[in-house]
Symmetry: C2
Amino acid sequence: MKVKIGELAKMTGCEVVTIRYYEKEGLLKKPERTEGNYRIYEDDDIARLRFIRHCRQHGMSLSEIRALLAFSDNPNSSCDWINELIKQHIEDVEKQIEDLIHLKNHLENLYHKCDGGKKEGCGILKSLIEGEMCMYCQKDKLNIA
Amino acid sequence: MKVKIGELAKMTGCEVVTIRYYEKEGLLKKPERTEGNYRIYEDDDIARLRFIRHCRQHGMSLSEIRALLAFSDNPNSSCDWINELIKQHIEDVEKQIEDLIHLKNHLENLYHKCDGGKKEGCGILKSLIEGEMCMYCQKDKLNIA
DNA sequence: CCTTGACCCTATAGGGACTATAGGCCCTAT
DNA sequence: ATAGGGCCTATAGTCCCTATAGGGTCAAGG
């Protein structure tokens, strides 16, 4: 199957510009071109892009994906590190969830502190000025870069 | 109280470069300078930066913070929209948590699919190629930009 | 008085993963 | 012949910093 970039985009749910971006970043190889200089993709390109998208959907960075692709292109290495990679990801995700739940508590604490009036009566603003945090944690425990 | 930028940074847990960045972005007003051209901050600058950091800790964007600051500088407007802002944030955060839990399920599903051998036996790689997702959802339901 | 070193200054570039814009070519249909 | 839709390249912008280069200021120590 030979497809142009727009069709590939539709097949993979990936935007056209993003496909070109992946090519520029070396995740996708430079495809053949038509006489009119259009990119033409074949089955293995489609599979490769699908792989990339699946990895992105798993929250992996492009450089991690690059490593996975390099590995899958090279038949002679052990893949223990992939398990490690996934494990690390799970930990990262758990940390993010924890932080977000924390944040949600803060926000819910803020919500409805405002009596709907003017500035002076706005408890939300007051809380933000004073840095009052929720009851679940110490001030400034939550670190958002 | 009059402090230089380094001390302000320590007081607020905000990096020096970030303070300068906030100034450039118009969140902090341009402070007075010493004869040697050092920035000098006073109490209200400190309070303002603390406010900004609290907002950031609540996951607000700089433009939202800009709006809040503009509001708090202007005594004549109702602040219902602040509650709306917070509510919107809570919803965003809930969505993020949901997505991350979803992602965590996927990753845990991937984990230990690899038998520790070579490429051919690596079930993780296989799953990523095939786009097999976890049992909790349809393929491609999770959308990570 | 001179030097060291911590702190400060500006201006500019980089990062991650895109997204948007400008300006133009290719191809098909009318 | 022209209108449109899709494709091309190159470049800049997004967000919120972070890093770098190349310098100036100031207090303490020799």
